[in-house]
């Protein structure tokens, strides 16, 4: 980097570097390979200490552990060895044709509502690919600088060829914009007029994922991830496409929205939009997968049918042993009750963005979204507060999600009884000997304080869901699995403190997985596959009469238990 103080035979990582030398080590827009050995050594130390990322630059000189702890962003304390960072990978700005807000508006709100990471995902399309993808980047870089304790990723909402929308995002780097731009120009379903459900377009989607994987492999970008958004909304994501994405690039295509955004869309008129919760308003069209039932176009307790159905599509993937994770996001375009309107004199097509929003004087009761972090949260167990670690945690499935601040913390461990080892947490596999006794321990930190609707949610019940791992499905379009069901429920009925439950799986003689779900208990009904599978599942949401604050759920990702033969 031209600073000229090379001491190649001397590990300087614990000596102070002068400011000019140290700065590049902290600047994640500079890739590892462009650092001097001393700078790289310093960066590795930062990484080990959990300090690399937006929080680091805030702290200035970081010489001691005490200062390091003080620099832990937002005062977040590690739990079970991880920083649990709430986040949102689905957020729009004035660079979307249906957006309105500045990047900094979304980031400041997300930060204020407790988010440690956000992804800016403006819609892919001709104007965005030509102008918006470039223009949004300086705003994102400025937001990283202005809001130090929230990681701000650049991404886009990809129009997946032949399918729905999805989040694609990358780790910051010097080539993040050019890579995203090339991706969008080459593989976006709107840019390429490739929305129709044809084999050619399905192949283009896979090619797009391959491009991302190749870009990471060649170190053009440090990292990239893809998650399918609102997967059941229009029936466009067929089971074989979801399996195809994951199987093509399992390190890139890692999951889907378990719950869509737009959670205020079902609030009744005249104080709400009076639509379907999540804007799940439609039915099948020409490009829909014909096998999906009518219920799949609705949400259940605010969650997508693929996730909400015990023994349904998500479980059919987990039963194959396929890692596939769920998230919950805002999809924030325009916030319910907000008084902003688009800036006057806007010309989106010419400028690639709308003018900055202005005060409009009237609360927008027709808007169906919440601010990032206000209602939907995706909690990722991250080794450190850094872009790379956050993406690693998401990729690993160390993730649980909640609505309305139902709970504050969740630590889950599967262990072999009596072994005293740490065992496996969310997203991981516990290796056991056949016949070992296995226990699942859940430590749940209850809400403890009011959520953003000003009440302290009560956790009424926690369900343990368990399924057999039956191996690859011969039919790539299958969306049920027979041996997954609720195996245990715990009544809680409390708002604060910590509750711990231990579920004993008994002697495990075959591969299984377990996942958790909890609820405020206000709206429950037998699951779509029967009360024997799910006696108290989420109810289908009523069109135009769905108060999201009176129907709260959390979901965890799974842990697999794999007996050796």
């Amino acid at each position: 980097m031209g600073h000229g103080h090379h001491h190649q035979h001397h590990d300087r990582s614990h000596e102070p570097l002068d400011e000019g030398e140290a700065a590049p080590a902290r600047d994640l827009t500079i890739p590892d390979e462009d650092l001097s050995p001393a700078q790289l050594s310093r960066r590795r130390m930062f990484r080990r200490a959990g300090l690399l990322g937006a929080g680091l630059t805030a702290a200035g000189v970081l010489g001691t552990q005490a200062e390091a702890a003080a620099a832990t962003p937002g005062g977040r304390e590690p739990k079970d060895g991880y920083l649990w960072l709430a986040g949102d990978h689905h957020i729009h700005t004035q660079h979307s044709g249906d957006g309105i807000y500045r990047v900094i508006d979304q980031v400041r709100h997300g930060n204020a509502y407790g988010l440690g990471w956000v992804v800016i995902t403006d819609h892919g399309g001709a104007t965005h690919a030509k102008i918006g993808v470039d223009k949004v980047n300086p705003d994102i870089v400025a937001a990283r600088e202005a809001v130090k304790d929230t990681l701000v990723f650049q991404g886009l909402e990809w129009n997946i060829p032949a399918a729905e929308h999805g989040t694609v995002f990358v780790a910051p780097g010097r080539r993040e914009v050019e890579t995203l731009k090339e991706f969008e120009n080459s593989f976006d379903g709107s840019v390429k007029d490739a929305g129709a459900n044809t084999p050619q377009n399905e192949a283009l989607a896979i090619a797009g994922l391959n491009f991302l994987a190749e870009s990471v492999r060649k170190r053009r970008i440090p990292d990239a991830l893809f998650l399918a958004n609102h997967p059941s909304r229009k029936g466009l994501d067929s089971p074989h496409e979801i399996r195809g994405w994951r199987d093509a690039q399992p390190s890139i295509a890692v999951g889907m929205e378990g719950a869509p955004g737009h959670q205020a869309a079902g609030l009744p008129k005249p104080h709400g939009p009076g639509g379907g919760r999540g804007y799940y308003d439609g039915g099948p069209g020409a490009d829909s997968f014909p096998g999906y039932p009518a219920e799949s176009y609705k949400t259940f307790g605010g969650f997508d049918w693929m996730t909400a159905t015990v023994g349904g599509l998500w479980d059919s993937l987990l039963a194959e042993g396929k890692p596939w994770w769920i998230t919950a996001n805002s999809d924030s375009h325009t916030v319910h009750g907000d008084t902003s309107v688009r800036g006057p004199g806007s010309d989106f097509d010419a400028n690639g963005r709308y003018e900055d929003p202005v005060y409009g004087g009237v609360p927008n009761t027709g808007a169906g979204d919440f601010w990032p972090g206000y209602y939907s949260r995706t909690h990722v167990g991250s080794r450190t507060f850094s872009y790379e670690a956050l993406m690693d945690g998401l990729r690993a499935g160390r993730v649980w999600v909640d609505h309305g601040g139902l709970i504050s913390g969740l630590v889950v461990r599967a262990t072999t009884a009596g072994h005293g080892r740490r065992g496996a947490t969310l997203g991981e596999t516990l290796d056991v000997r056949r016949g070992d006794r296995v226990e699942l321990t859940m430590e749940i930190t209850l809400a403890g304080r009011p959520n953003w609707a000003q009440f302290v949610p009560t956790l009424a019940r926690v369900d343990v869901i368990q399924g057999d791992v039956t191996g690859p499905a011969p039919d790539k379009d299958v969306f049920t699995t027979p041996n997954t069901k609720v195996v245990q429920s715990y009544e809680v009925g409390r708002t604060s403190g910590t509750v711990t439950f231990t579920y004993r799986l008994g002697r495990v003689d075959r591969p299984v997985y377990v996942r958790l779900r909890g609820t405020d208990g206000k709206r429950s009904a037998p699951g779509l596959l029967g009360a024997g599978v799910d006696p108290h599942g989420p109810q289908i949401d009523v069109h135009g009469d769905a108060d999201p604050w009176n129907d709260l759920w959390f979901y965890s990702n799974p842990i697999w238990i794999l007996p050796r033969r």
Partner: protein, 185 residues
């Protein structure tokens, strides 16, 4: 498809209606399939109404939309239509069609698929049917049954049928799925 009130779940219909029976003049009925490669349901419904009008069919004629997969009558998946018509009808000149063993136009295979689904009651959604013009606003289940060809209303993700006095918000858009319908699609 609107929700029902009085039932805590969202609405969605399956219907059992009368069979199409014979034509008004007592002659034999046949199913006419038409395909103009419509990519959206509104486009297809517009085509359906336009053709029904040009053929002089009465308002209660059973007309349906049907999904046609990619590779059949075109490279992209699209929507074809079907109409229950008197056997004597002359097919429209400017769209692909199929009726009985006869076919015309480049997308005739899509039209034939729609007609076959209609005849076998295998799939599709009913757009026009006796009484459909009256299904507007908010109505009771009993009023829907009494005033239209719909004989049964079910609620999605609900074990039993709603009571007769359950209110249904139609959103002025009632399109019963034909696969379980007696309406003849």
């Amino acid at each position: 498809m609107g929700p029902t009130t009085g039932e805590p779940t969202t609405g969605g219909f399956t219907t059992d209606g009368p069979t199409t029976g014979g034509s008004a003049d007592g002659g034999p009925m046949t199913v006419l399939g038409i395909d103009a490669g419509s990519r959206t349901l509104p486009e297809a419904e517009h085509l359906l109404r336009t053709v029904a009008r040009s053929l002089g069919l009465p308002g209660g004629t059973v007309g349906c939309t049907h999904f046609v997969p990619a590779g059949l009558a075109g490279d992209e998946p699209h929507i074809a239509c079907s109409l229950a018509v008197p056997g004597s009808v002359t097919p429209p000149a400017d769209v692909s069609w199929a009726a009985g063993g006869q076919r015309g136009g480049p997308r005739a295979e899509g039209a034939a698929t729609a007609a076959a689904e209609h005849a076998a009651r295998r799939g599709g959604r009913v757009v026009t049917f006796p009484g459909h013009d009256l299904l507007t606003g908010t109505m009771s289940v009993a009023a829907i049954r009494d005033g239209s060809a719909i004989e049964r209303v079910l609620v999605l993700a609900s074990p039993g049928p709603p009571g007769d006095d359950t209110l249904v918000v139609t959103n002025d858009h009632v399109r019963p799925p034909a696969s379980v319908s007696g309406l003849g699609c």
